[in-house]
């Protein structure tokens, strides 16, 4: 093994149980997160083979994708959703897995509750049957999404078979301008690299911009790694990371903490480590972003216009089909476009910092009458913090109401569907056709842009409403 290694090499290599010649590595998985939608067929597979989950203590289950965000104390109405939830509850029980179902104090979106409960740790390998598992990379973990056959693999063996991805480093130095958030940084990178620009790579984010970011911000960035095609993204752990995880339920304590710390601090890319690809951007070049099309790479600075088809890299017919779905024209500006819905939430932007940002704009203002707003905390812990910090009062005074935690309109599996043809400014991660409901039109943006849209009823530059600089 060469002396100089990247952060990713250090974590990946230390988890290889066996390397298959001309084939994948057998990678040991420290912690496995399970939810109701991608697990039933995997458990069914285990039952068919008459085997049990190999390490239940390394497995954690929650309900989030399919759950209602109002009246969670009542039985789930949709019979298919109810059946999926019941299946997970029973599977968890049969296999001795901790299960945080609806109403449980730890319940929430799988990628929000992992970090909150100290399940997510530096140097760990973490998988989940959800592509945004990349979120956990914010802590210096190797974390990635897997399919249901792979969920079954990990349940059965605590290992997964994967070829080792190539390595890419994205470095952004300098400072971000006021009103520019981690979400804008991520949407900017994707707009530059395209949705397939990092396919085949595992990304490390480096440089001052990411060092300066809060843990919540780092999670937002790592979360969106998958939207540029990367399997995952990660950031070297530092003091901020250790401070965040210390004392959480599943974080090691006492001697175990003291032992882990020196290892965790060794997790960074060596100075002369070699990446397969390096990309650099300048922090001050980034504006608040918004998307105008049907993939997350179709984003522009909020003051900008929709590019002409002949200026774009991909196929013009695909591009035009996408604009037709959105009912937008080439060359139009985004500012001032009327919107119908605002969605604040998801594992991308459903954490407390996102609600603080949203509140900083709507404080003392009123929700626009043409806007339906769904504000959905990422977890019960986030929900509690919203209440304790007085944010709920600000939101209520401005005419908003808070829903209960879950994935909600991010993938619209429950009743939170944006109606056909309506425009939604969403803090989630995907603007694919029909993602937020059949025929729904999604504009991805930061919580600040979402808040500005919520109080003005149209696409608005949040910097025109910022009273205090966004910290």
């Amino acid at each position: 093994m060469s002396a100089s290694r990247t952060l990713f090499d250090k974590v990946w290599d230390s988890h290889v149980v066996r390397s298959i010649e001309n084939g994948p590595d057998v990678l040991f998985i420290d912690r496995h997160l399970v939810h109701e939608v991608t697990s039933p067929v995997a458990f069914h597979g285990l039952n068919t083979r008459s085997i049990k989950v190999k390490y239940p203590a390394r497995t954690f289950a929650t309900a989030d994708h399919n759950t209602p965000t109002i009246n969670q104390h009542l039985p789930v109405q949709d019979p298919l959703s109810a059946k999926q939830l019941k299946a997970l509850e029973e599977n968890a029980k049969d296999h001795g897995i901790p299960y945080w179902g609806l109403g449980h104090e730890n319940n929430g979106i799988v990628h929000v509750i992992g970090p909150e409960n100290g399940i997510t740790l530096p140097g760990a390998t973490i998988v989940c049957g959800d592509s945004h598992t990349s979120t956990h990379g914010a802590f210096g973990a190797v974390a990635f999404g897997i399919g249901t056959s792979e969920v079954e693999m990990v349940l059965a063996s605590q290992c997964i078979m994967q070829p080792k991805p190539k390595k890419m480093r994205i470095t952004i130095n300098g400072k971000l301008n006021p009103g520019v958030t981690p979400k804008d940084v991520a949407l900017y990178i994707i707009s530059q690299l395209s949705t397939s620009g990092a396919t085949g790579y595992f990304v490390e984010y480096a440089g001052e911009v990411f060092r300066d970011m809060s843990m919540e911000g780092r999670m937002t960035v790592c979360n969106l790694s998958i939207e540029m095609g990367a399997r995952g993204g990660m950031i070297a752990p530092d003091e901020k990371t250790f401070e965040y995880i210390q004392g959480r339920t599943y974080t090691p304590r006492g001697d175990a903490w003291e032992k882990a710390l020196p290892y965790w601090t060794s997790l960074y890319s060596d100075a002369d480590a070699v990446f397969d690809k390096e990309v650099e951007f300048e922090g001050n070049a980034i504006e608040p972003m918004i998307t105008f099309g049907t993939n997350p790479g179709m984003g522009v600075g909020i003051q900008g216009g929709i590019p002409m088809a002949n200026e774009t890299k991909g196929s013009p017919s695909t591009y035009k089909k996408s604009l037709a779905y959105m009912a937008f024209d080439e060359g139009e500006t985004m500012i001032g476009k009327q919107i119908d819905y605002v969605f604040l939430g998801s594992c991308t932007n459903g954490r407390i910092e996102d609600f603080r940002a949203f509140a900083s704009i709507v404080k003392g203002k009123q929700k626009a009458s043409n806007v339906t707003a769904w504000l959905v905390p990422g977890s019960h812990k986030v929900e509690r913090a919203i209440k304790e910090e007085g944010i709920l009062d600000i939101l209520t005074d401005a005419g908003f109401r808070l829903r209960e935690p879950g994935c909600s309109a991010c993938l619209a599996m429950n009743d939170d569907k944006i109606p056909t043809g309506k425009y939604a400014v969403s803090t989630s991660n995907r603007n694919f056709e029909g993602r937020q409901g059949p025929g729904a039109r999604t504009l991805l943006a930061s919580p600040l842009v979402a808040a500005a849209a919520a109080v003005t009823g149209k696409v608005t530059d949040p910097r025109t409403l910022l009273e205090t600089a966004y910290a």
């Binding site: 067929v41 079954e152 397939s196 995907r430």
Partner: protein
């Protein structure tokens, strides 16, 4: 999950020359509520295939009787988006055994290989040749030879080779899955786990 073994497949192709076809198009999230792997083929490309009143959209390729076959020939960056294996299941259950594209999203490619759908990545130029050939003759046969790692347009000189890991190739040809392999190394994994703190 058991699947049909894959060796040599000769079939006409169904063209879908769009780029960035994402998993939400392949199977929309509202159809992911099943607890068993059944019936996903009916909802393959649901919103492109059917109007909201469930009547078929005439101009979508799967509703066009001119095209049929077990090979889907699709534009660049096919399968981007979510990790839902349901997307690969829907393709398999509909009757496709092979997807040809000039670029695949990572997780989707893995999911396909795990459930018996062969993703064949070809150059943009070769993809173009296939699409043009189907356009001029919808019944034109395409031959996918997994043992030889070769894809060719039957009755023509057009052929290309494709990559696949030797391990995955073995699996597909024999209908094995990774779990069989992993269960056989249980002791090695236990030893590894013992020195890996939780």
């Amino acid at each position: 999950m058991a699947y049909d073994k894959f060796n040599i497949l000769t079939s006409s192709g169904v063209p879908l020359p769009l780029e960035n076809v994402d998993t939400d198009q392949i199977i929309p999230a509202r159809f992911l509520k099943a607890t068993e792997r059944k019936g996903f083929g009916d909802n393959l490309f649901r919103d492109w295939r059917y109007h909201q009143d469930n009547s078929p959209k005439e101009n979508f390729v799967l509703n066009n009787p001119t095209y049929s076959g077990k090979i889907l020939v699709a534009g660049k960056n096919f399968g981007s988006g979510s990790s839902r294996e349901h997307a690969a299941w829907a393709i398999y259950d509909y009757g496709f055994r092979c997807v040809v594209s000039s670029f695949f999203a990572d997780i989707f490619r893995n999911n396909c290989l795990n459930i018996g759908v062969l993703p064949v990545q070809v150059s943009p130029a070769f993809l173009d040749i296939l699409l043009k050939a189907i356009e001029s003759d919808p019944k034109a046969d395409i031959k996918v030879d997994l043992p030889q790692q070769k894809i060719s347009l039957v009755h023509s000189d057009h052929a290309a080779s494709f990559d696949i890991s030797a391990y995955k190739k073995e699996n597909l040809i024999n209908g094995f899955d990774d779990i069989d392999y992993l269960l056989n190394m249980s002791e090695e994994i236990d030893a590894f786990a013992a020195k890996t703190p939780l």
